[in-house]
């Protein structure tokens, strides 16, 4: 059984006041998220990440295709008992305190009074809101609201957690704590499906990522495979090499940067490294370091997002909106 599955999932919104015309927000999206993995849905603003999550919770309805959570069709509301959801920029009731709101959420899941008390206390502590447990939410900062949002998504001890931009509004400490929480959920065997446009978060937390741009899936795969596939060059640093040695190495490198006594050479992936090392050893060069330079998620993302959108003939540009 898959944790989340989308099959040709498509969403068209009607735009325009007088003459309505469809605007495709999500286009033929096929995803399969395994149980127990941390899955990142990446994309620039307006890529369709939030719409995808909203479709999974039937807040908007798919125009075509279908989706399943834990093997159940998304129209099956009882499956929500096993999932948690943090909406993008969440907002809660001003008149309630965090403790009251979590109790309300727990009541909707039908938790017993003992269980409710235990989980509410534990979650308030986990997200660092125990000091503010009685403060009305109208006095909360954006970061505190986000922390409460994460807590309410976990109140039912879900098997699958959906987090829409979980790091949004959090300070560096909060982001670190949220990252730790995601890794702890993974260690507990839970599936985490989160959307983000912050690539460093995805790189640090995800087992697999899918890249969405203008509603279309641009790539999907295991993060370590994506990154190791992308060894683009090797960096060789030499200590005080002779001019003759540098002259000999020049045809084998693509760039040379001199910093003080050290020279950093970039060797294209097509070049045979052993040949370069042979030349260095023969010229009695002192090797300081030899590093393969992997493609970062950012490089991969930029490559996918900046590439022409398949079939549209347009450049994928970062657009505004949700």
């Amino acid at each position: 059984m898959l944790a989340v599955e989308t099959i040709h999932l498509t969403k068209d919104y009607q735009v325009g006041f007088w003459r309505k015309r469809p605007r495709r927000a999500v286009d033929d999206l096929n995803l399969a998220v395994e149980l127990g993995e941390v899955f990142g849905l990446l994309g620039p603003n307006g890529a369709g990440k939030t719409t995808t999550l909203k479709m999974l919770f039937r807040l908007v309805f798919p125009s075509a295709g279908s989706a399943r959570i834990l093997g159940k069709d998304i129209g099956d509301i009882p499956v929500h008992a096993y999932v948690g959801y943090l909406p993008e920029n969440p907002y809660f009731y001003d008149h309630l305190s965090p403790e009251e709101f979590l109790n309300y959420a727990a009541d909707l899941f039908g938790l017993s009074a003992d269980e409710r008390r235990r989980r509410v206390g534990r979650l308030l502590e986990q997200v660092g809101l125990q000091e503010a447990r009685d403060v009305p939410l109208r006095k909360f900062s954006k970061g505190m609201v986000q922390r409460l949002g994460i807590a309410q998504a976990l109140i039912n001890d879900p098997q699958v957690v959906f987090l829409d931009e979980p790091m949004s509004g959090l300070d560096p400490l909060g982001r670190h704590e949220a990252g730790d929480l995601i890794l702890r959920l993974k260690a507990e065997g839970k599936t985490v499906f989160f959307s983000t446009h912050i690539l460093s978060d995805a790189e640090a937390l995800c087992d697999r990522v899918a890249i969405l741009n203008r509603g279309r899936l641009q790539g999907c795969g295991e993060l370590n495979k994506i990154l190791s596939l992308g060894i683009s060059l090797t960096e060789l640093t030499l200590e005080d090499p002779s001019p003759e040695l540098l002259r000999e190495l020049l045809p084998l490198t693509c760039s040379t940067v001199k910093t003080g006594a050290r020279v950093r050479l970039e060797i294209p992936s097509a070049t045979d490294i052993s040949r370069v090392l042979e030349v260095v050893l023969r010229g009695q060069g002192k090797i300081v370091s030899l590093n393969p330079v992997k493609m970062s998620l950012e490089d991969y993302f930029m490559k996918k997002v900046a590439a022409p959108v398949e079939g549209s003939g347009e450049k994928g540009i970062v657009s505004s909106g949700g």
């Binding site: 919104y13 509301i77 009882p78 929500h80 008992a81 948690g84 009731y93 008149h95 309300y104 909707l108």
Partner: protein
């Protein structure tokens, strides 16, 4: 069973939300002030003190409850959508029908508590006026029951309109329907007297189709010591229950199709 529990949870939360709205306290204080004023009017109306008191107090219970039913009712659903708090509810194992029904009963509970407070104020005023209460003083309770049935109907109308329209338009529609609903008897009479077959059919259709709020107005008769006949209590309760069921079912059907972008 789970469904009933979730509806009760949403109703309890809606009640809590309404109770914490400051406007509610203002309304209750204002209504209690009016009851105090009714005592004053009673004292200067020699011989008809009780009629004036019952008339004024029941009218204030009705008007203030009505204002709350309309103004809180139209915001019950739209506020949740506008502030996106609905995302947190519908992502839990809560159906849209449970959400609407829970909201409905939550506001009804608020109005019930509000009416109980005002009724207590009324009996305190009556006790002050007469120095002692007797069995005949329970007669206005029948009229208060009808006022509550009217609230049940108005809240359903307000929720129905708020599912298809903006809050301001919903308030206008609900208020207009309330006014028309109070005049339906006269409208039908006008049709019958008009000697136009088409007009008579139109007014009769309106009479049977729209909620007949006029049938729930027993204030003047209660003020003159007339008890609510039990057959009327039963028939009006059934009528209100049926109408509320139809309106809430229609609201649920519309809400089921709604997208939250």
């Amino acid at each position: 069973m789970g469904s009933v529990r979730r509806v009760a949870t949403i109703a309890r939360h809606t009640f809590k939300e309404s109770v914490r709205e400051r406007v509610l306290y203002n309304l209750i204080v204002f209504a209690l002030l009016l009851i105090a004023a009714a005592i004053l009017f009673g004292t200067i109306s020699v011989g008809i003190e009780e009629i004036i008191l019952v008339n004024l107090v029941l009218s204030s219970i009705s008007v203030f409850g009505l204002l709350m039913a309309i103004f809180i009712g139209i915001g019950l659903v739209s506020k949740e959508i506008e502030r996106r708090t609905i995302y947190n509810i519908l992502s839990k194992p809560v159906t849209r029908a449970e959400f609407i029904v829970g909201k409905y009963f939550g506001l009804l509970l608020t109005l019930l508590v509000n009416t109980l407070i005002m009724t207590s104020g009324f009996y305190l005023a009556l006790l002050y006026e007469k120095r002692r209460l007797e069995a005949a003083d329970l007669v206005p309770l029948g009229a208060i029951c009808f006022i509550l049935l009217q609230f049940a109907l108005v809240v359903a109308v307000a929720i129905f309109f708020s599912c298809i329209s903006t809050p301001i338009l919903s308030a206008v529609f609900t208020f207009c329907l309330y006014v028309i609903g109070n005049l339906l008897g006269d409208i039908r009479w006008f049709g019958q007297e008009s000697q136009s077959r088409a007009l008579e059919m139109l007014t009769s259709t309106l009479y049977y189709l729209l909620p007949n709020f006029g049938d729930f107005n027993f204030i003047a008769r209660a003020a003159h010591g007339e008890s609510v006949p039990s057959y009327l209590l039963v028939s009006n309760t059934c009528y209100a229950a049926l109408y509320v069921t139809v309106l809430i079912s229609a609201a649920v059907l519309i809400f089921e199709e709604r997208e939250f972008r």
